[in-house]
Symmetry: C2
Subunit: 413 residues, 2 copies
């Protein structure tokens, strides 16, 4: 099976550059030279955030919308980087001129999180003190650290206040943290498919992913060259995590028990792909003993593709750091003991969107956020969308979701 | 945290030897010297099944109950092997004098499956042709192969017909296969927490577990000494699978976000435990870099314990073989295309039990079995037990389940 078959979002670049689309965008770097003290007590001598913006900041500097990304996301949430790009940013369906997050009205900002590996300072970045990558000497960043670093970026951009901060999954955690950390700065908070408190099952899945990385001999205690390291462990972590982003029903519809033709290996597109293909026991390596347990079901092939493509764009130490930040997220515990107490400072309006088939952060966890906000006397509402597409629903095409987001953003009291 | 804290089923041996208990039992080996042709077309020159029996076969030889075990189970489903045993067989709560499967009335048989690693012939066994372990040259056993080998054991024991064949999870698959394969031999079939067709999500989880094993350098293409091999990969596979046996709710109740005291490492009980403890980044190894991502939440510690204890009793190649057998299970596809056609030969009565919080083989998959049996004109009923304990519910204490099993077994038309 050709790997490209799994890239469902491929659109022609021409289409992506047309009116109604964000079009060509260029990432930029913001560097804060001031020491940044992280929640774990350690201090970064400074940091860089890679970010993108779409639309224009108005003269009052109050039309900004901050988009926060999830575990494996980055700053590139809309538009394309070149006309050769086959895929736009990860939330391009939601963001653009005339879209739910309307770049004709809003100045949209999205940054790769602190601790990330897509241009922002993280374990891959050189420690100025040694000239070598931080690796696991990087501070144990928290969701709050991510938020506080984003505030410095917005100050730098001249944003006076946020019309809205929004995100799904870990992006939703950041949005909720924003509402608590900078209550006078956030008009609206929009969190989707998220939780105020990472639960035991979600921690357990992250723990297995981390063990797959930590136990890979190539991890080498976090010291490895960029692009190298525990690629097998990272691929396994991603394969497992990917299952938690889908649903039983959507996987059954998408793959069922269909098998792949095992005698038509896709031509690997690079020598590295060929090596990985062998490594992951793919169709090209049918002579290896592992082939006895080789791809048979489409879903196996799909997962291996997900694992392989992930290791080409993600760093294993960042995966360790960000999953630990997620596991550490517990608003109630961090702010006085109850969620009502945690939300006491909130001033803006909050919308939380849950998805019926999301079993990673199920509807009840999303509902609990709104219940606590309401008990704390805050303006908050909950919307639940019926879908069988699982946790990833917030990323997928959904006119219902677009309408919710659009009316929440545009409404003025 | 002391590992023993996780062994919840520890009972005093004295109690387990009392009346009302199966008491001391001894495993035996049955060896079939005749060539056994597997579903993949390959032939074993012969095979051994390790098994246990409880109760007595009656003169009519028609009071036998066959118990089929799940992926990680074995032939030791009731009683103890010595007075020093701290844990009884895995279904001891269900089986015994006066219990739901009453050994005063029934002759209970349970065998380690073909392909297993607890005494039955499998990848660990020496291939008579070479004198070396089969490893991955072992035939690709199926659920049907397991069933057909069990039939030879029952013939050997003089069992004329089965009062009932029962099992949960993969044991339920075997029970269903028994009803189709030997319809005149099975009075009753009792399948729990199972499916007639392994779905995409369940295949996906098995695939990740297999990759963790196959990518472990110690797997060495299936060639490793007994007790060695891809212990890390197997532990990771088990940790992940274990999550699918529980439920979000039960994990939250059992562990929540409780943390463990990291400065009180349990004394390892053997040098090997000490090595593993280091390998899995446990409390004892806090100086290693991996300790930066070390056990914090109780659920992490629990999963590592599950992983570690599994690799001391299970074989990685068997894990590959048995998960492949499970993934290959699709009664409809194997018997004419529809489940009704598959069940056409069935003559006995079938009871299927689903558990509301089982998300590995959810209630609808259990219900679908009964629906198809009824459409095929068979005597079949479905019972659904409300529990929040997940897939493992069939193994846990449940007076409701005991009553269902007992009345199904004892009832005569």
């Amino acid at each position: 099976m050709n790997d490209a078959a799994f890239d469902e979002d491929i659109t022609s670049a021409a289409t992506l550059a047309e009116p109604g689309e964000v079009g060509l965008v260029e990432p930029r770097d913001f560097t804060s030279a001031a020491p940044f003290r992280c929640d774990d007590g350690r201090t970064l001598p400074g940091f860089t955030l890679r970010y993108e913006t779409y639309g224009r900041l108005n003269p009052a500097a109050d039309n900004a919308v901050l988009v926060c990304h999830a575990l494996s996301g980055d700053h590139h949430c809309a538009g394309i980087h070149s006309l050769a790009d086959k895929k736009p940013g990860w939330w391009n369906n939601l963001i653009g001129p005339g879209k739910a997050v309307d770049t004709n009205h809003h100045f949209v900002v999205c940054a790769n999180v602190l601790g990330g590996c897509q241009g922002s300072t993280g374990p891959l970045s050189p420690d100025p003190a040694t000239g070598r990558p931080y690796g696991i000497t990087f501070p144990a960043v928290t969701i709050r650290d991510m938020v506080r670093s984003q505030k410095l970026l917005l100050d730098h951009l001249g944003v006076r206040r946020l019309r809205c901060v929004l995100g799904g999954s870990m992006g939703g955690m950041q949005a909720l943290q924003w509402g608590i950390e900078y209550p006078d700065y956030c008009d609206k908070v929009l969190a989707m498919a998220t939780t105020a408190r990472e639960g035991a099952q979600a921690i357990a899945f992250n723990e297995v992913g981390r063990q797959a990385i930590l136990q890979d001999p190539e991890w080498n205690q976090g010291n490895y060259p960029k692009g190298g390291g525990p690629r097998v462990g990272l691929a396994i972590a991603r394969m497992m995590a990917h299952i938690t982003y889908l649903s039983d029903a959507s996987m059954d519809r998408k793959f069922g028990r269909r098998t792949v033709k095992s005698n038509t290996p896709a031509a690997p597109s690079s020598p590295e792909d060929a090596a990985l293909s062998g490594m992951m026991g793919d169709e090209g390596s049918a002579s290896a003993p592992a082939a006895a347990f080789d791809v048979n079901f489409e879903v196996q092939s799909y997962l291996r593709y997900q694992g392989k493509s992930f290791i080409n764009r993600f760093d294993a130490n960042t995966y360790l750091y960000i999953t630990r930040a997620i596991d550490g997220f517990d608003l109630a515990a961090a702010h006085g003991g109850t969620l009502e107490q945690a939300f006491a400072p909130v001033r803006g309006e909050t919308l939380v969107v849950g998805f019926t088939s999301d079993w990673l952060f199920p509807p009840e966890q999303n509902r609990a956020i709104v219940l606590a906000l309401q008990r704390a006397g805050k303006r908050a509402s909950y919307a639940e969308l019926t879908t069988d597409l699982g946790h990833d629903s917030f990323l997928l095409e959904s006119p219902e979701l677009y309408a919710l987001v659009s009316s929440f953003l545009e409404r003025t009291d």
